[in-house]
């Protein structure tokens, strides 16, 4: 029987990853995969067991393609799409700076990670941006932490109550 380390899901994805031979194709595969299978807001749980392993393999491929197609200067400064990474980061930072709602802030932060997590964005820009976004999100989340009773909090989060004993 297929086990957790070797199974048809992983085999199928290894083939898909091998077929991505340009940086653009690799990045498209990666960002699409992350949005569908690794987002905290995902609705498709079919790759719960293998998702992170598959993401790792796509990231590895994208990193290799990036080093093949980019110059040293581009690797340090540009996102894989060619845009200056700091410009991409600044747009998100401005959006977060203006944000006062924790649920909106978590979307900004999570979507930033899904779209830009290295090797899409250079590590030097990504980590610092992630730190600033994370700080703001934590500030919003922890302000008046106990303000809502659990019943209200469940509604705001949008969960369905299956059982409460």
């Amino acid at each position: 029987m297929a086990n957790i380390h070797e199974n048809p899901n992983r085999d199928a994805w290894v083939k898909k990853i091998a077929a991505a031979n340009t940086l653009a194709a690799g990045v498209a595969l990666l960002t699409d995969f992350r949005a569908k299978h690794l987002s905290p807001f995902k609705t498709d749980f079919s790759l719960e067991l293998d998702g992170q392993w598959i993401e790792l393999k796509i990231e590895q491929k994208v990193a290799l393609l990036k080093f093949k197609e980019f110059s040293d200067t581009q690797i340090l400064n540009n996102n894989t799409c060619g845009t200056n990474a700091q410009i991409v980061a600044d747009v998100v930072l401005a959006k977060m700076d203006a944000c006062t709602d924790m649920y909106e802030a978590e979307k900004i932060h999570i979507n930033f990670r899904l779209a830009n997590k290295p090797p899409v964005m250079p590590v030097n820009v990504f980590l610092d941006t992630d730190r600033i976004l994370g700080t703001k999100l934590m500030e919003l989340r922890n302000t008046d932490y106990y303000a809502l009773p659990l019943e209200e909090l469940r509604k705001v989060r949008g969960v369905k109550v299956i059982t409460l004993q």
């Binding site: 957790i4 610092d128 992630d130 934590m138 659990l150 909090l153 989060r157 059982t163 004993q165």
Partner: protein, 527 residues
């Protein structure tokens, strides 16, 4: 050529306060304080809601060189005792077999905690700006490296010199299947190194170290001694001498943020969440290891818990921080209720799931059952009679074809796993405070056992995505999963875990498990 502002600051400091002329430790420490650079534009690599003050002191005032001298003396004593005297008197074989198994869990798990504490205190070093405060964290980084080695060494020593090496020697390989691992990672890993840097300090230093190292590292030496173990006190008391520095660091972390307005907004929430996170695992697991993993009892766990956690930490230690706005966690009262029965509930489940562990468990003897009933009135009716039934059905004998897990299924008592703490619980058969609450989010179900954890998940669900073993192995047969998860001894078919420690008892193999036909099922699917 222009010099950097940092180099200029160092040069200016030296002009005022020349380098010490002797190597006196306190003189060097005083000299180091003059390097209080202007950190207005400094930033840490890590997210935090708080700003640490630039003039925070630390209490130990120990420079790295003095530290190294002190610790080398401690190491000489410790390793000298172990290698010479204790080996000659065959100390590792004099340990009661039940306690031998407890040390497989305690030292292997603490090693993980110490390892993550290296990263945690490195992160705090980066986050602080005061030189003295950084110096305190630096000392702790070195301590944690030492402790990681010490914990590893205890298991190495037991494996090499003592009885039943399996589980002492390579516990980590069973980490995917053992139901205690993921909860341990939650407190010892995630709690220490992810999220807000100051919140990590609260988890590690203010709760983990100031609250739970007394019951963990001090109380464990009493239980070890009572059960014939001379090695653990030798090593763990050496570890504990460093823990005071860590508690002091936690205290100074709070002092450093006391004047930051963020502290009044966030500190008590972070403390409450950190306390609940740590106690949710440590309260039942430590109680279980001490009481059920020993033959000779020291005192009921609930008394140890009340003394160290409730009175000493919740009252005195947190009380001392009251002047900085710190309050005893609101969840302390709920934790106190759980300290009475939670470890009994957990052992019932742990024994039922014994094949997935890396240690041997033993049912209470008649003598031990009397002790439980005397100290926890009502114990027999809830737990004692169940153990009698399991024993009568041959749960220790591989030929019986009976796993206690079947008893839960036969009696319609499903076992769930709390999404936030990853601690298993059985809401329909427990005396502790666990209550079942199941929520569905985007089509996936999540179970929780208490309102504090539920709120933590509702506030930041992406932090608690860890799958539990029922989700991970749903539909898989137990022996197959054990083999895949490396739960067998070096012969390739005898299980590391066993339901007894008897020398005359037969050891269970993969074939014995396979004959039973036990298949993992996710209880949430049935709801």
């Amino acid at each position: 050529m222009a010099i950097s502002s940092a180099t200029k600051a160092a040069t200016d400091a030296l002009a005022v306060n020349r380098a010490p002329v002797s190597v006196g430790a306190q003189e060097v420490h005083k000299w180091m304080q003059s390097f209080t650079w202007d950190f207005d534009k400094n930033r840490t690599k890590y997210s935090t809601k708080y700003k640490m003050a630039n003039d925070t002191k630390e209490q130990f005032k120990l420079i790295a060189k003095e530290y190294a001298r002190m610790e080398s003396v401690k190491d000489e004593r410790q390793f000298g005792s172990l290698q010479d005297v204790l080996t000659r008197v065959d100390a590792a074989n004099r340990v009661h077999p039940k306690w031998n198994e407890s040390m497989k869990v305690i030292s292997n798990f603490l090693e993980v905690g110490e390892y993550n504490a290296i990263a945690a205190t490195g992160m705090l070093w980066d986050s602080a700006s005061a030189p003295e405060q950084k110096n305190g964290y630096l000392g702790q980084v070195m301590d944690e490296i030492r402790h990681t080695n010490q914990c590893g060494y205890i298991n190495y020593y037991f494996a090499k010199q003592g009885q039943d090496a399996a589980g002492h020697n390579d516990a980590r390989r069973t980490r995917a299947i053992g139901p205690l691992w993921k909860g341990m990672k939650r407190v010892f890993s995630d709690g220490f190194i992810s999220g807000d840097a100051v919140e990590c300090s609260i988890n590690l230093q203010l709760v983990g170290e100031a609250c739970f190292t007394n019951p963990l590292i001090v109380a464990v030496t009493e239980w070890a001694s009572a059960n014939g173990d001379e090695m653990t006190p030798t090593v763990f008391l050496s570890i504990e001498t460093d823990e005071l520095r860590h508690m002091a660091n936690g205290y100074q972390t709070i002092v450093s943020i006391a004047n930051d307005e963020a502290a009044s907004k966030y500190l008590n929430t972070d403390l409450n969440n950190a306390f609940w996170t740590q106690q949710k695992y440590f309260t039942p697991v430590l109680g279980m290891m001490f009481e059920y993993g020993s033959h000779f009892k020291v005192e009921p766990w609930v008394k140890t818990w009340n003394r160290w956690v409730y009175e000493d930490w919740g009252g005195i230690w947190i009380g001392r921080l009251g002047k900085y706005g710190v309050e005893s966690p609101a969840s302390l009262r709920d934790a106190k209720k759980d300290a009475y029965w939670a470890h009994h509930d957990l052992f019932l489940i742990a024994y039922a799931m014994w094949p997935t562990g890396f240690f041997r468990l033993t049912l209470p003897t008649a003598e031990e059952a009397e002790w439980y009933e005397a100290n926890y009135p009502g114990w027999y009716d809830m737990y004692g009679k169940v153990y009698e039934e399991w024993r009568a059905r041959g749960c220790e004998d591989p030929n019986s074809g009976f796993l206690p897990l079947q008893w839960f299924a036969e009696n319609n008592h499903p076992i769930y796993i709390d999404r936030v703490s990853q601690v298993p619980f059985c809401p329909s058969y427990c005396k502790g405070a666990s209550t079942l609450r199941v929520l569905e989010f985007n089509g996936k179900k999540h179970s929780f056992s208490d309102p504090w954890g539920e709120r933590m998940w509702l506030s930041e669900p992406e932090r608690y995505e860890c799958q539990n073993i029922f989700e991970q192995y749903e539909g898989r047969e137990l022996s197959e999963v054990i083999a895949e998860g490396h739960g067998v001894r070096s012969d390739g078919f005898t299980l590391i875990a066993q339901p007894h420690t008897s020398k005359d008892g037969k050891l269970w193999t993969l074939d014995d498990i396979k004959k039973i036909g036990c298949v993992f099922a996710d209880p949430l699917k049935a709801l």
